[in-house]
Amino acid sequence: MNVEDRLRAVLADDELALPAWPDPVSRVHAGIARRRRWRRLVGSFLATALAIVTAGVVSTAVLSPAAPQPSPSPVSPTTGVVAWIDHPVGDEVLFPGPTARPSARPCTANDLPRTISVNQVGAMGHIYTQVTLENAGASRCTLAGSPRLIGTNTKTGARGAISTQHTDANPVESPLPAIVDPGEPAILFIVSGLACDGGLNTTTYRNVSLQIFGRSYPLDHDISTTCPLEMTDWVLNVAFEPPPTPDYAELIPTLDAPATVRIGEPFSFTVTLRNPTDKPIRLNPCPAYEVGVYKSATRLWLNCPVGGIPANGSLRFAMVFTATVLPPPEQQAYLTWQLIDYNLTTKEARIPVRVVP
């Protein structure tokens, strides 16, 4: 048997099949929920980036969505259909998170507290050692940079600086710079893991301490890792409440579109939004929606009437879209339409369409 055949044979060996998970759906759901919990801790990354760029200016207006205001009379008197507006969602932040604070003086040793608190949590094969430090100074200051980590390598017995790499993979997905008020906490994470190297080559550090501005704080936690140790920057420990599910998540969209559309040519269709509730649903601020056919999609702002959608009523909206990607002949394409919501709780409408050259 030649090398290729041996290779095929070994890769196809049934001994390499792993046992299926007892409840794969629940297992994956739990992981997704955990990711979302991390994500919810502190707002949107884009908001942070924008806020940093605009350092020195605290302005929620900058980060507010550029949603159009509801129009008093967008409904055509002849057709009863709300006119389409070509208003794509640009760089606006659809769901703004917390904003960065104005820059402040750098923190110094005088701002450091007597003690710090440390917690370890595990997620996705990693161990996050969370260090929380409060500003014990008299005024707001900026805690920047990474502290030194000192520890004793249990294998060699040597005590010294532990090598760490900087990581942006902060479990707080949208970290804000640690511009902390007196008494307010900042956090950083030391990321270790036992999943690297097949769990072999574990390095354990005991009596680990953090050195900040010449002061030493014991962590009271060993750090064991088979992965390179990583450390995040200090970030503000601000809880972020994501936006609540909007009323418009109740709306049920249905589509009325041509059965066949031509690639590259704009086509018109309508979306009917039905309000199944006993209360009117206001569309202020206006939501955005995503429309797509096969692999082409775009996000636009809805043209919202002032009165919203009446209780147990409905409203038709004119739409225009251009399919730009031709699906393979055997592929059934769909026109899909959905209002955009932070939690993806809105209902999607989809109908089959034929896309022709």
């Binding site: 030649n2 090398v3 290729e4 041996r6 290779l7 095929r8 044979a9 070994v10 890769l11 196809a12 060996d13 001994e15 390499l16 099949a17 792993l18 299926a20 998970w21 794969p24 759906v25 297992r27 994956v28 759901h29 992981g31 997704i32 929920a33 990711r35 979302r36 996705m124 094969g125 390598n153 249990t154 294998k155 060699t156 790499q165 999943a195 690297c196 190297d197 097949g198 769990g199 072999l200 080559n201 574990t202 390095t203 354990t204 890792t225 088979t226 992965c227 390179p228 409440e241 994501p242 609540p244 599910t245 096969y294 692999k295 999609a297 699906p327 939690n343 993806l344 709780t345 999607e348």
Partner: protein
């Protein structure tokens, strides 16, 4: 606040495909525990992006690409770790999931991740060089060079003369 609702198609995908993905990941990385981590990670990412993935009509491709990328990134991180790592504190018991041709399986474990990935995609998934290049985001020439280097290593280790191999006949 509202909880994330899994699209029914995603649940069905997880239910029907996770075992196949586990097998693929195991062949790819050679470690059953890491394979489970890779599949879990890939499926979580897929769940969060399911609508977009469905629009691209290739969820399997997305998930496998994610598994491959996570594996290669993981091995890169591991290589960095090795520069400073101490000798192992403990030795894991051998995995019960070992193929009959243990010699070849062990040799695969010595290959760099890119080379191993290319071989797995070529000889397990039966993908073309162009398809492999697409998955790895590299040139076809890179796939070819990785493949030939990997095969040369295997042949050298196995003491197999080049003439008796498929590639040697070309």
């Amino acid at each position: 606040m509202a909880e994330w609702q899994a699209p029914p198609a995603f649940d069905e995908y997880v239910r029907t495909r996770h075992a196949g993905l586990l097998r693929f990941a195991h062949v790819l990385c050679g470690d059953p525990h890491l394979a489970a981590d890779l599949v879990q990670d890939a499926l979580e990412r897929a769940g969060l992006a399911w609508r977009r993935i469905q629009r691209q009509d290739d969820p399997e491709g997305y998930v496998r690409r994610t598994i491959v990328n996570c594996f290669i990134n993981h091995r890169r991180a591991r290589r960095r770790e090795r520069l400073v790592a101490e000798p192992p504190d403990r030795v894991e018991p051998p995995s019960p999931h070992r193929p009959a041709d243990d010699e070849m399986w062990q040799l695969l474990a010595t290959l760099p991740p890119q080379q191993r990935t290319v071989l797995v995609l070529r000889y397990y998934e039966d993908l073309s060089e162009a398809q492999i290049a697409d998955i790895l985001g590299c040139a076809i020439g890179t796939v070819k060079s990785n493949s030939s280097r990997a095969m040369a290593k295997l042949r050298t280790a196995l003491g197999t003369p080049l003439e008796s191999t498929e590639e040697g006949k070309r």
